[in-house]
């Protein structure tokens, strides 16, 4: 088993949190994991890009140029990475911030377009957008399911925000639901 994903957006969209959840959940299943967030100037630019690789054997490169999946929470991230997507890969695009017409992927890429911000606001908290995205991602993922995420979410969300966990879990479920609907 080998799977790699790029998650991208601007600071504050909560990408670090969901990518960390994926990494830790995979570790719990004794899978090999590499986790590479952006650093330095890129960070200063307000961008967050994370590369996560999961495998059942030794992982080579932690940086990737043809990911199994791309989670693009904004237009800048989409435009930077979408041309890396190859046949059979997955794109989850946040069409709240991405004009549909900007999505240009090779055929054979499974594109999920979701107005994630609206979905989050509908759930009463715009901050839940990242968790909804995570839900869309985990749905149908070969090596992780809702319970795996649930198992580690507590270790990722800072203590002072513990009370938000139930809502976050609901948001993940909502994401799964949306993804199901789109498939």
């Amino acid at each position: 088993m080998y799977y790699d994903v790029i998650m991208t957006g601007f600071g504050g969209q909560g990408i670090q949190t969901i990518s960390l959840i994926v990494a830790l959940a995979s570790m719990e299943k004794n899978l090999e994991v590499t986790y590479l967030p952006s650093y330095g100037v890129e960070k200063r630019g307000g961008r967050t890009n994370v590369f996560v690789v999961v495998s059942d054997e030794e992982i080579g490169s932690p940086i990737i140029n043809n990911p199994s999946a791309l989670l693009a929470l904004d237009i800048i991230g989409l435009e930077f990475y979408q041309n890396m997507l190859g046949k059979g890969s997955v794109l989850i695009a946040n069409t709240s911030l991405i004009p549909e017409d900007k999505i240009k992927t090779k055929e054979g890429v499974n594109v999920l377009t979701v107005k994630i911000n609206e979905e989050a606001i509908a759930m009463g908290n715009p901050k839940l957008a990242n968790m909804i995205t995570l839900g869309c991602f985990v749905e149908g993922l070969p090596f992780l399911d809702f319970n795996d995420l649930k198992g580690v979410i507590g270790t990722v969300i800072p203590a002072r925000l513990k009370q938000t966990i139930p809502d976050n879990l609901k948001a993940i479920e909502r994401g799964i639901e949306i993804a199901k609907g789109l498939k």
Binding site: F10, G11, Q13, G46, D74, I75, I76, L97
Partner: protein, 69 residues
Amino acid sequence: MAHITIDADRCKGCYFCIKFCPKQLIVVSDKHNRVGYFPAQFSEGGDDLCTACKTCALMCPDTAIEVFK
């Protein structure tokens, strides 16, 4: 009878202009710009009150503001 223009995509939402406009003519927009910031915007009808004192422009770190008179 004066006014300012704010380049929404240059604006990074530091709100110095809002803090220092002696006439409180600048407010926060409710939709974020391309980069994800919620830019400042000149209030409706601010033209009547704006004195073109340039304080906003003086403090803007991103030269997003132009002043007209």
